[in-house]
């Protein structure tokens, strides 16, 4: 056997388990979408794809479903709440993280190392450890059942500051000095020189924050108990405890909750993967 055929055999032998693995990884989600678009109630796992008639009626039903228990609320309300929350967390978080990361990376002032250390130390505190006092504080502030309670605690992140700091450290100092000689203030330099050259890291942080914010569950569960302000993840709990025999619309509901973020991920996958790896290698 010559070298070339051996290589082809090796290639096939390696591709088979990887491809099978991919199929197993995607199977639950393919099954979910199939059930969502299928008119049949039960799709056995082995068929994976819709067996009978294909329909979108499940999506309509899922969208309207919570209305039965909450005086006319639909999934639309939950989507809107989640979008508002996610946009605010992403924009506000990017701003706060980049500002702090910038001065820690580039400026000389008393306490600089200390603040850098503090920002990193927040990574050591698991959310669940602070959940109870956080709730008590939010309650004292009168924020229970407001979107403010969902947004404000997530406006700064140690990981964000850390990644922005690493990024700003790699920017050549001459750039800043030139702007300074032209008489630009620090605020001006930050917003019109430093931020515009930070697009990759902004892309990375946007995807990471969006994913985290869109998928957060326990915190909304604690601070929001008015269905009008439910996030999409909480909205899904309406499906729980239903005596479900129609799996179709349940799966449609889940598909609706997963899809928006999946699209963001597919569009911005390079930023996304880059960000996680950067956090691991430099962290």
């Amino acid at each position: 056997m010559n070298y070339k055929t051996l290589r082809i055999i090796k290639r096939i032998l390696l591709n088979i388990p990887l491809a099978l693995g991919s199929l197993v990884m995607l199977a639950p989600l393919i099954w979910m979408v199939s059930s969502a678009i299928s008119a049949n109630t039960f799709i056995p796992l082995q068929s994976l794809f819709p067996t009978g008639e294909v329909t979108l009626v499940n999506f309509k039903e899922a969208w309207m479903f919570p209305a039965a228990t909450t005086e006319g609320l639909t999934m639309g309300t939950f989507f809107l709440n989640t979008i508002i929350m996610t946009v605010c967390i992403v924009i506000g978080g990017l701003l706060f993280d980049s500002m702090a990361g910038y001065v820690i990376a580039r400026k000389e002032f008393p306490g600089r190392t200390f603040f850098g250390f503090l920002a990193l130390s927040t990574l050591m505190v698991p959310f669940y450890v602070t959940a109870i006092p956080q709730y008590i504080i939010v309650k004292e502030l009168g924020w229970v059942n407001t979107l403010t309670a969902l947004i404000v605690p997530s406006l700064a992140s140690g990981m964000g500051i850390h990644l922005f700091r690493s990024h700003f450290r790699s920017v050549p100092i001459e750039l800043e000095e030139c702007a300074k000689l032209d008489g630009a203030s620090d605020f001006r330099i930050f917003f019109s020189v430093m931020l515009p050259i930070s697009k990759p890291i902004i892309g990375t942080m946007t995807t990471l924050k969006a994913m985290w914010s869109w998928n957060q569950f326990l915190w909304p569960l604690i601070v929001i108990n008015n269905p009008k302000l439910y996030t999409i993840q909480q909205g899904l709990t309406f499906f729980q405890g239903q005596n479900v025999t129609q799996y179709g619309y349940l799966c449609a509901g889940m598909t609706l909750a997963i899809l928006p973020l999946l699209i963001v991920f597919l569009v911005m996958q390079n930023f996304f993967i880059g960000g996680l790896t950067a956090g691991a290698v430099k962290g």
């Binding site: 990884m25 056995p44 927040t122 505190v125 669940y128 602070t130 100092i173 326990l218 993967i273």
Partner: protein, 291 residues
């Protein structure tokens, strides 16, 4: 570095202010408050202020079978999940990293999609997949092979296995991506230098690749243990800790005690115990790293 005037320095603190106000209010403050609350009797239902009771909450916890079961379950979950995901993730990463694989991006996306999907939604999907109805997804698949329907989430043994399976499925892509980053960071000439010697695949793996991946493995070990210790969402959605106490974990118990029974003192004690367990782990990791 440009020397800063006093006024400019004041400006720097303004840059730091927003982030650190958030940290102080929602991380550092609550952290300290947690320690204090764990030494108090406190309920949100009554209007009483926290009442100092010393270490009573901790002593009560260690006598409480619920807590001991939760510790046991969390340990089982962590000890099963972490080695599984690390091993599986490394295997997939090495496969994708091979020069023989062409469609790297495609594979990466396939393995990565579960990680991006909402945990609440996929927990529901698994709940339906593993429904105990004989005609539902997984049981229907088993029936095709002539296996009798299984009770899945209603069975104390299977419930934990399904939660581990779901977490493995969800976390595998993340571990794979991080390992892939680690593999790419190994310089090409290391392998070139080795390939001059007659060395076989397994030796290459144990003597070259794995030792060079040690920092990545350490990072993943710590982050995965921290994540596993905080397992909450799938349990909350799929089993609510049942059947019986079979899937109750530390965080589901914390949620139950704190927000359902309003026993804030005891819930804080659980939080503090989780914190110190994880802190200890990080310290051990740091020391191992230095060796």
């Amino acid at each position: 570095m440009i020397v800063a005037s006093k006024r400019e320095r004041f400006g720097y603190y303004l840059f730091l202010l927003p982030a650190f106000v958030v940290f102080t209010t929602f991380i550092f403050g609550p952290m300290l408050y947690s320690f204090y609350l764990s030494l108090c009797k406190y309920s949100l239902v009554t209007t009483n202020n926290p009442q100092f009771v010393g270490f009573k909450n901790y002593l009560d916890l260690f006598k409480n079978t619920q807590f001991l079961t939760a510790v046991k379950n969390t340990m089982i979950f962590t000890l099963a999940l972490v080695p599984l995901t690390l091993f599986g993730g490394l295997l997939v990463a090495m496969g994708i990293n091979s020069k023989l694989i062409k469609y790297k991006r495609f594979y990466k996306i396939c393995y990565y999609i579960p990680y991006v999907s909402s945990m609440v939604a996929v927990s529901y999907v698994f709940k339906i997949l593993f429904s105990s109805r004989p005609d539902a997804a997984m049981n229907a698949l088993l029936a095709a092979f002539g296996v009798a329907p299984i009770e899945w989430l209603n069975s104390a043994d299977w419930a934990m296995i399904i939660i581990i399976l779901l977490s493995f499925w969800k976390q595998l892509g993340y571990v794979m991506i991080i390992y892939l980053g680690g593999l790419l960071a190994i310089p090409e000439d290391v392998y070139e230098a080795v390939s001059l010697d007659p060395i076989n695949g397994p030796t290459m793996l144990t003597k070259i690749t794995l030792p060079l991946l040690k920092p990545t493995t350490m990072f993943l070990l710590v982050t995965e243990v921290i994540n596993s210790f905080q397992i909450f969402t799938p349990v909350h959605v799929m089993t609510s800790g049942g059947p019986g106490m079979a899937t109750t974990t530390l965080v589901t118990l914390l949620y139950e005690k704190g927000f359902k029974n309003s026993n804030m003192g005891q819930a804080s004690a659980i939080a503090v115990i989780i914190f110190f367990a994880l802190l200890l782990l990080s310290i051990i990791q740091n020391n191992l790293d230095k060796e």
